[in-house]
C-alpha cells in the first residue's frame, strides 16, 4: 500500500510542471540541466538573497514541462513598495563551438508571459525548460526588511509557484563606481546592420534621422543602467570622420572654422547634459567619458602637418569646441583626445594606438602642445589626452608624463608593472586596462574577473574593446559572443539593444565593488582586497600581478609573442581556474559586511 502511494506521488511529481529557482551564476540549458561551463559549482542548499538598496539583486527561475504545451509565467503578487521586478526570457544560442546551447541574450518578458514549449522562435525541437532571468531593483527608498518575490508557472500539466525571499538591507550602494567598466565600439555603420527594418523605414536619411540618434542613446542607456560606460570611436584609421561624431568644418588654414554643430549636438547634447538618461533608474547623469573626433586628419588637414597651417587649423577648431562645450555647460564629461590609428593601415606614418616604435612618441608630444595651446588653462571643460598602450607602456608613462593623462593599458603587460601603475596613479592620471569579454561558454563568473582585477590593482577601470559585434548569426550559429555584451532587439520587436546574462553578472559585480570599497572607512582597504581575492579564487592580491620579466629590459621591438605570453603565464593560469561561484562567494562576503554595517 505504502509503495503504491509513493509510486503514485512520484508519478504526479513527474507529470507536474515545475518552476525552480537558480542562483544567477548557474546557467541552464533548454534541457533544464546546468550548462557544462558552470557544472563545477553545486547548487547552493538554500538560496538567500540579502541585498543592498539602490541596486539590483538577481536570480533565475526555470520553467519545465514534461511534454510540449502552452504555459504562462506571472508574478504571483505585486512586489513590495520600493522593489521593481524585471523578467527576461533567456535565449538559448546554438554555438558553433562547442556545439551546444548556452543562454545569453535576455528578451524582456512582460508579465504575465504566455508562450509554449518548445519556444517557437528559439526553434529547439526537444526543449523542455525555459529559463528566465529575474532582476529585482531595490530603490534607495525601500524599507529594510524581508520581502518575497513570488512567481507562478501555469500550464496544462499543473501550476508551480516559487517564492524568493529578498532581504533588503539598510546598506545603500554608492552612486559612483570604483571601477569604470567601459564598452567600446567603432563607428556607427553597425547600427544600420543591426536594425535593418528601422533603417529601411527611415530610407536614405537613416544616419541623420531621430531614430538613429535614439538608437545611439539607447546603447548608452543600456550600459549606463548596467553600471557601465559606452564609447563609440568616430573616425577611421586614415582619418575618415563619421558626420555625427564631429561638427562640420569649412575653410582652410587660418580660416578653418566650425560651420555646423547640428549633427554633433543631436548626438552628444543629451549625453553631455545627461537628459538621455532621464528615464533610467539611476537617474540623469552626463556620460563620464567621450572620444573626440580629433585625429591626424581632423580638424587639421594632414596636408599641413609640420607647417603653420596645421597648428592654425587645430587650434582654431579645438578652441571653438572648448567654447561651445563651455557655453553649453558640458563640463562633466572627460573629452578624450585619442589616437587610434595604426601605421599598418597606411593612413599615417606613426602608431597612435599601442606604440611599438619609440620615435612615434614625438607625435604625442606635439599633439599635447597643440591641445594646451587650444584649451585655456582655466577651462572648466575637461579635456584629457588618452593613450592606449601596450609594448612600450613603461617608457611611455615616463616620456609622456604630464602630456597623456588617461592610460588604457593592455592587461597582460600592465600586470608586469605594479610600481608603474602606482606611480601613474599617484600623479593623478587615470589608468584602465583592456581586454575582451569572456564568451558565453566560459564560466559565468569570468565576466566579474576584470572589474575585480581593476579594483585589486587599484586602478580606475577596464575596457571591453568591442561590445556590439555579435557575429553574422548570433541566434542560431553563434560565434560564442566574445565580442558582444548586448544584442539587437529588432527580431523581438524592440528597436534598441537588449542585455545578456554576462552583462547582468558584470553589473552585479560592479555594484558589489562599489559597496565593498565603501567599507574602507571601517576596515583597511588592503584587508578588503585580501578577503575579496581569497573568496574569489583563494588567491592573494599580489597573485594578480606578474613578475617583471627579463624581456622588459630589452627593447620592445625584440620581444616575441611567446616571451610575452610566458611572462604573464602564472596569472593567466590562475585565472583559467575561476569557478562559476567565484563571484557569488565575494558577494556573500560583501553582504556579510553590509549586514554588520547596520
Amino acid at each position: 500500500m505504502k509503495l503504491s502511494i509513493l509510486l503514485a506521488s512520484a508519478l504526479l511529481c513527474a507529470q507536474a510542471a515545475q518552476l525552480e529557482v537558480w542562483p544567477a551564476h548557474l546557467c541552464t540549458g533548454p534541457d533544464g540541466a546546468v550548462v557544462a561551463a558552470d557544472r563545477a559549482a553545486a547548487k547552493p542548499a538554500s538560496l538567500a538573497y540579502p541585498a543592498a538598496r539602490a541596486g539590483y539583486v538577481s536570480f533565475q527561475v526555470v520553467a519545465t514541462l514534461r511534454a510540449p504545451g502552452e504555459y504562462s509565467l506571472e508574478l504571483a503578487a505585486a512586489p513590495a513598495s520600493g522593489l521593481q521586478v524585471d523578467v527576461f526570457r533567456e535565449w538559448y544560442h546554438r554555438l558553433n563551438r562547442p556545439q551546444a546551447y548556452y543562454p545569453d541574450a535576455l528578451v524582456p518578458a512582460a508579465m504575465p508571459y504566455h508562450s509554449r514549449l518548445p519556444e517557437p522562435d528559439n526553434r529547439i525541437a526537444d526543449q523542455k525548460s525555459q529559463a528566465f532571468w529575474i532582476d529585482v531593483w531595490i530603490s534607495r527608498e525601500a524599507r529594510p526588511g524581508e520581502y518575497p518575490v513570488s512567481l507562478r508557472l501555469k500550464s496544462a500539466e499543473g501550476d508551480s509557484e516559487v517564492s524568493v525571499p529578498i532581504r533588503v538591507l539598510a546598506a545603500v550602494i554608492p552612486d559612483r563606481d570604483v571601477v569604470t567598466i567601459d564598452h567600446n565600439t567603432y563607428g556607427s555603420s553597425w547600427i544600420g546592420g543591426l536594425y535593418p527594418r528601422e533603417q529601411e523605414r527611415q530610407g536614405g536619411d537613416f544616419y541623420r534621422s531621430d531614430a538613429f540618434f535614439r538608437l545611439i542613446h539607447a546603447y548608452h542607456r543600456i550600459f549606463y543602467e548596467h553600471r557601465g560606460a559606452f564609447h563609440q570611436l568616430g573616425y577611421g584609421h586614415a582619418g575618415q570622420v563619421g558626420p555625427e561624431f564631429a561638427p562640420a568644418l569649412e575653410g582652410s588654414g587660418r580660416n578653418k572654422r566650425i560651420a555646423s554643430w547640428e549633427l554633433f549636438d543631436r548626438h552628444y547634447g543629451p549625453l553631455f547634459d545627461g537628459t538621455a538618461f532621464a528615464a533610467t533608474r539611476r537617474g540623469p547623469s552626463p556620460i563620464p567619458y567621450a572620444y573626440l573626433p580629433i585625429n591626424p586628419e581632423w580638424p587639421a588637414s594632414y596636408l599641413w602637418w609640420g607647417e603653420p597651417g596645421y597648428e592654425a587649423e587645430f587650434v582654431n577648431v579645438v578652441s571653438e569646441m572648448e567654447r561651445h562645450f563651455r557655453e553649453k555647460g558640458w563640463t562633466a564629461t572627460r573629452m578624450e583626445m585619442f589616437f587610434n590609428h595604426k601605421k599598418r593601415y597606411m593612413g599615417f606614418p606613426w602608431d597612435g594606438d599601442e606604440v611599438r616604435f619609440p620615435e612615434d612618441n614625438r607625435y604625442f608630444l606635439e599633439y599635447g602642445r597643440l591641445l594646451r595651446k587650444a584649451v585655456p588653462p582655466d577651462s572648466p571643460v575637461r579635456f584629457v589626452f588618452r593613450a592606449d598602450v601596450s609594448w612600450t607602456m613603461e617608457h611611455q608613462t615616463k616620456d609622456l608624463a604630464g602630456v597623456v593623462n588617461l592610460w588604457c593599458a593592455g592587461g597582460g603587460i600592465l600586470s608586469w608593472y605594479p610600481e608603474m601603475a602606482r606611480t601613474v596613479k599617484r600623479r593623478g592620471d587615470t589608468v584602465w586596462f583592456y581586454g575582451a569579454p569572456p564568451g558565453m561558454s566560459q564560466v559565468s563568473a569570468k565576466i566579474a574577473e576584470s572589474p575585480l582585477r581593476a579594483w585589486l590593482w587599484g586602478i580606475d577601470g577596464y575596457v571591453h574593446w568591442q561590445t556590439v559585434e555579435a557575429g553574422p548569426d548570433p541566434w542560431f550559429a553563434s560565434d560564442g559572443g566574445g565580442l558582444t555584451l548586448v544584442y539587437s532587439g529588432e527580431r523581438f520587436g524592440i528597436e534598441g539593444p537588449i542585455p545578456c546574462i554576462r552583462l547582468k553578472i558584470q553589473r552585479d559585480a560592479v555594484q558589489d565593488l562599489a559597496l565593498l570599497d565603501s567599507f574602507k572607512s571601517r576596515r583597511p582597504l588592503a584587508d578588503l582586497r585580501s578577503e575579496a581575492a581569497r573568496r574569489f579564487n583563494g588567491s592573494r592580491p599580489e597573485d594578480w600581478w606578474s613578475q617583471r620579466p627579463a624581456i622588459a629590459d630589452r627593447p620592445a621591438m625584440e620581444w616575441t609573442e611567446a616571451e610575452m605570453s610566458q611572462a604573464s603565464a602564472p596569472l593567466q593560469q590562475m585565472l583559467r581556474k575561476t569557478a562559476p561561484d567565484a563571484w557569488s562567494n565575494v558577494h556573500a562576503f560583501i553582504m556579510q559586511l553590509a549586514e554588520e554595517a547596520k
Binding site: 567603432y186 568616430g234 577611421g236 588637414s301 601605421k343 599598418r344
Partner: protein, 186 residues
C-alpha cells in the same frame, strides 16, 4: 510624348554623371603620374618591414603587422602630394599609392591611403593582397586605366615612375558616386 522626353533627358543626365566623375579623376591621375616621385615612393616602407611582410608564426598572427614601419619623411612627402592630387577634383576623392612587392609578382600592397578611406581594391586591413589585374596592366604598360568594377565606384589607375623611367608604383584616384561616410569608420 513629354514624359518620354523627360525620361530620356533624365537617363542622359544619369549617364553623363559618371563621365564627369571619370573625366576629372582621369585628369587628376594624369597629374599624379607627373607629380609623384617613384624613387621617394620606394623609400616609404622600410626594408625591415618588407622583410617581415611574408613572415608568419602560428603563435604570433600579428607578426607582420606589428613590425610594419615606414620612413616618416618619405611617407609624409608622398602623402601630401597625394592629398593635393585628390583636391584636383570637385568631389570627395582619394589618391592612394600602391606598389608591387619585389620577388612576389603575384602580390601588390597599398602603401598610403587617405582621408575619405576610399579604395575600390583594398580589403580592410590587408598588408598585401593578390595582384589586381588592372594594376598589373598599368605596371606593365605605363598607361592609365579606368576601373568601375564595383557598382558606384570609379578608380583611375595611373603609373608612377622613378628617375630611371621604370614604373614602380600605381596611384589609384578613387571616388564613390554616393560616398558612404559611415562604412569606413572602423
Amino acid at each position: 510624348m513629354k514624359p518620354v522626353l523627360l525620361l530620356l533627358l533624365a537617363a542622359a543626365g544619369a549617364f553623363a554623371q559618371p563621365d564627369h566623375f571619370a573625366r576629372e579623376l582621369d585628369e587628376a591621375a594624369r597629374v599624379a603620374s607627373v607629380m609623384l616621385d617613384g624613387d621617394l615612393c620606394r623609400q616609404v616602407v622600410t626594408p625591415r618591414a618588407l622583410e617581415y611582410l611574408f613572415r608568419s608564426d602560428p603563435r604570433d598572427r600579428y607578426l607582420a603587422g606589428d613590425n610594419y614601419e615606414v620612413n616618416h619623411e618619405a611617407f609624409n612627402s608622398v602623402k601630401k602630394t597625394l592629398i593635393r592630387i585628390s583636391r584636383l577634383v570637385s568631389f570627395p576623392a582619394d589618391a592612394n599609392l600602391w606598389m608591387p612587392i619585389a620577388g612576389h609578382p603575384d602580390k601588390i600592397r597599398v602603401v598610403i591611403r587617405n582621408a575619405h578611406e576610399m579604395s575600390q581594391f583594398w580589403p580592410w586591413g590587408a598588408l598585401y593582397q593578390d595582384m589586381i589585374p588592372e594594376m598589373k596592366t598599368v605596371l606593365e604598360t605605363g598607361r592609365r586605366l579606368t576601373v568601375t568594377r564595383k557598382p558606384g565606384w570609379i578608380s583611375v589607375l595611373a603609373p608612377v615612375s622613378d628617375s630611371l623611367g621604370d614604373v614602380v608604383a600605381v596611384v589609384e584616384v578613387a571616388t564613390q558616386q554616393k560616398p558612404d561616410t559611415h562604412e569606413n569608420v572602423k
